[in-house]
Subunit: 357 residues, 4 copies
């Protein structure tokens, strides 16, 4: 289904950039999980625009309201609906783009698919849709926390700058969300420079899930890494996904790639925590490629609905690099995938013959 | 569901490496598609082991039998079951690996997940499972052909060797399935050398879909690229997926990445034929990273079910590089994804207001 | 998924009886359907309590707000979220029932399933959940109208009183929603008498879908009647479903049951418009059994969470017979089922060889 | 999906009446369940035609072969494929019916839906499709047995004859599968008489599930009774479903219908073991209406594909009353539904706060 993700634990998001509200229904959440609007707000605040000079300067409060599924502070097993009202909608900003197909955006493809589209601020294709993902992800994060698992994401590349350090606390303390103390300021400067030039920068976000028990993920079609790929590739602007060594594994030999096991467990983690589509118990490590934002201030040429060529310039407040804002969304999709896999595994655990000596 | 892929057009595969048969049910196939066992066999023969010196020397006839859903040469709309009987099963080859967790394989994770496993030739985690995918993919290919679309895949990297040429007819004429006339022989030599050293090589496979109409793919969660990622990442040994510029887009600026439109249509295709999760009408271009096969002849150390460390050596006939054999499987998953998206789009086309002037 | 219905056209409802709001996301709606809050309100007003003396006297405005998926008066293909805020919530009415398992209600089973429950006004198990179904059903009704199909439901039995007339315009003009001009006033009187006695009455609602084209419904598992059964049995208090002759067919002989075809088409419609799970083009006729409401004023004995036996009396405003209020919900579930089947059929129509001479 | 049933535990069946084989894939089966071809055969033999004079005299061995998912006597968690080869196919019996739309059959509707059909012995619409359901149901039965639950079905009505006794052991000992020692022989005689008259009889089958723990079934859309209805209504010839008092509840008052709870538990079971869509722990009791078989020897009039009216007579071996053969299929669909619900409940049990004092 177009706007749903997950099977046993499912989100369905709704909302357009400039509609009255965006939101989500999280269905299949187990009962007894402590959830509050404040908990959801924590993650929404991390996604919110206007947090720093490297992101869009739109001011959106993004205040979450939980409409259902939580009673006396805990989930009841009923679907949890969360909505966020729009307050800073300025549809007039987009009137001049009504008939244009902006390069890099989904204007043309929505038009070809549906024959009608809400053109205001990318409509349904807006990054604002991720509000619902992040709200639901906060609850999935709480489910995982109960099982001892934790998910974090952070920027590891902006343009040509590649982070090597992994100081994860620092990542949340700088506007680029980069865990490398040396590279973070350089990345920040590069983003400012691109924005000043009316241009934008791509990058890479890494996702790290620790404390994930072995055995999660269904083999064959619902491989854990295939599900992660589906979830993360469904985030706008993401053009690639890799797990463990990823594309680098193309250059490795089997003797280098194989993770040897000893009495102490796995001695390396080239696999990135997943073998045969099932978690190994090692940290899950994945990366996604984030393209440079399509909304740039440099004048561009394109065509309109009648096929006429026109030059235009995108006005308004846009992210010069999406990585810092993709971070909480990537965490959300990872949390939802892992929590769903955890629930599926719970379904069969009682049947599993004892595995250990 | 663990062994199913797709929603409107769905495959469910079954079978273990050394069980009596492997196969697939393709459900949701529209009626009136000309299908025969011979058509299915064409693709199965491309997947079959033992085709050349760079793949495993196991001799499997892999003869397809269609059990249902085809009547008087055309599909009827009923589910199409295809099975392939096993003929070259040699379970005794694996007796010594019964209790071992082979590095790089799914032995340990199946054990942790299910507490029981069919250890013979990787059991359910075997590449032999892809027989069902390829059989169903041949039918999806026929559906796409009716709409003018064509899907091809080919090896573009083996180890450090990267293809630049794209002579697609040549790709099917050399054992590496590489479309670069200069690099193909070098890749072949590299694979032989790795095998002679008891080792294996990784690589990259590219997928190209031409003639795909604009408008396929559901935005948001079922983005066409997210679905392709899910399908392709569900193939064993695949560690990464990218579309269009993919990970290279991290180094691009918006002004470089955006595909400008003129009266003649898109002037470039950095997006890889998909914008906002919907096909643009341009060729869809994706790549997958294929890890080096885990089954190598070099002695390795690992642990057994009791946690005891043991050295072992994998005997038998194994692929030194998976790329040539991943090619038809990648095509199958791409065909199934695109044909499913085509069906979904047909469902709404009648409702779509006219899009063109 | 617990709160979702449908595959290609899907609703997901949320909300508890005394939570801040109830609502629905309708996903998969084709573009270009004229939809407005007023259109949705029409059906919601028919579902609303307090419409007559035979239904509960709670006054709920049930004002629908469309949050997404509609732009400039038509659907865009994006998910349509509709919410209805609660205004007449009186949770204090239920404080004394907090720990009790009311007979006939889902109190005990939610408790056993989840170990926690929102006890206020039946919580998630409340009939108020159907607000979302009816809102989405109004849009499905509009999809069907475009294909020339129309769905109506009406009360054909209350207690021992069985309607024989089928004056469908009259059905909407009397509080019982009964299409029999003689029986309707008797039913009304019977309902008043039961309420005055502190008791309640069961009944039967019939559903009639006309103008449904032949060919809808997938055979085997997703038979059109099986899908209708699933949708209608998911309405609270519904204890039975039948199509065409239904349970009466048990007493018929094949020679009586078979619908003969002549040049003019089907000569009878014992099948109720569905053969082999696929619509015949004849009117679809189904009936559902509606149990007497469990909330009665007569004092009852039951147990509480600690297993202690207690006598209690349900206070407040309750429906003495659910049939009139089930009518719009039954229509909604039927519209959603048929519109979904219509979309699925559209997906394959282009492939279908010509069927007529 | 057309040929799939269930979500966490899923079957997908395939096969036409006169194709080379029919079968099923059961996916999502937990590991460690003892399963063998002999176990599956037990239920298949109960479904098999030719068991007595009241069923069709076709002789089908219906020998099950398990192709996957079972290793060393237990399930592995992998999909279980079971096929049954056709041996008594006589397609020539049907040549004269090639262009006819037989009354009561799905000939016309398949034609309208797909524009092409396998006309031999009803093709995909044949009762032979249920072989796959019964094979998978046998495994679901084993899953339930491990949880202490047991499912039985039996004929409680044939034509006007209604069983009152419930001697379930006797039900399996007489050809009608009726648990009433007095009515069974009368039913048998009535069936013979109908067949001798070239006609057929309808009936009612009751399903009883005992030992089902409280808490199974998802409320709202996936109510346990809605899922049972979907599964049972998907069996060919079934025209109605009811649970507990079913249609009789229309005549009851709330004070009669409500099941009072005391310290000993529920004192009655008018609900039929399900409240709010969730099992109560009491026996689940449901009934299905089975129409008289459409294949009767009496000459009938109908039309052919060109719309020409023609008289015809169905030759061959057909069931004069379907109830005895529906019994094992109804059990299978019930077992699959309950086992799936059991797995879903296992997924959330670990999260459930303690429910008992």
């Amino acid at each position: 289904m177009s706007s749903s993700f997950g099977s046993l634990l499912t989100i369905t998001t709704f909302g357009e950039s400039h509609g009255p509200a965006v939101g989500v229904i999280l269905d299949g959440c187990p009962p007894g999980i402590a959830v509050s609007a404040a908990l959801v707000q924590l993650d929404l605040d991390r996604r919110r625009p206007g947090q720093s000079a490297v992101t869009t300067q739109r001011a959106e409060a993004d205040e979450a309201e939980i409409l259902s599924g939580v009673f006396e502070g805990v989930t009841t097993g009923a679907p949890i609906a969360v909505i966020v009202r729009s307050v800073d909608a300025r549809p007039q900003d987009y009137a001049n783009l009504k008939d244009l197909f902006r390069p890099g955006h989904a204007d043309y493809t929505y038009w070809k698919k549906y024959g009608v589209r809400d053109h205001r601020g990318s409509g349904r294709a807006s990054g604002r849709e991720t509000v619902g993902r992040v709200a639901a992800g906060a609850i999935a994060r709480a489910i995982l926390a109960g099982a001892g698992a934790r998910v974090r994401a952070y920027t590891v590349q902006v343009g040509d700058l590649v982070a090597t350090g992994r100081d994860l606390d620092y990542a949340e303390a700088n506007p680029v969300r980069c865990p490398d103390r040396e590279k973070a300021p350089l990345m920040e400067r590069a983003i400012h420079a691109a924005r000043d030039a009316g241009d934008s920068l791509g990058g890479v976000v890494e996702i790290l899930a620790t404390g994930v028990p072995a055995g999660l993920g269904d083999p064959v079609m619902d491989k854990l890494d295939a599900s992660l790929a589906a979830g993360l590739m469904s985030i706008g602007a993401v053009k690639g996904f890799e797990v463990g060594e990823g594309f680098a594994s193309a250059r490795l030999r089997g003797s280098e790639m194989n993770d040897r096991m000893s009495r102490r467990g796995f001695e390396t983690n080239h696999a990135g925590g997943i073998l045969g589509g099932i978690s190994t118990g090692e940290p899950i490590v994945a990366r996604i490629a984030v393209k440079p934002p399509s909304s740039i201030a440099i004048p561009q040429r394109t065509v309109d609905r009648r096929g006429e060529e026109r030059e235009f310039r995108i006005e308004g407040r846009h992210d010069p690099c999406l990585c810092p804002r993709v971070v909480p969304v990537a965490e959300a999709m990872t949390c939802l995938t892992l929590a769903g896999a955890l629930l599926r595994q719970r379904a069969i655990e009682g049947f599993r013959p004892r595995t250990d000596p």
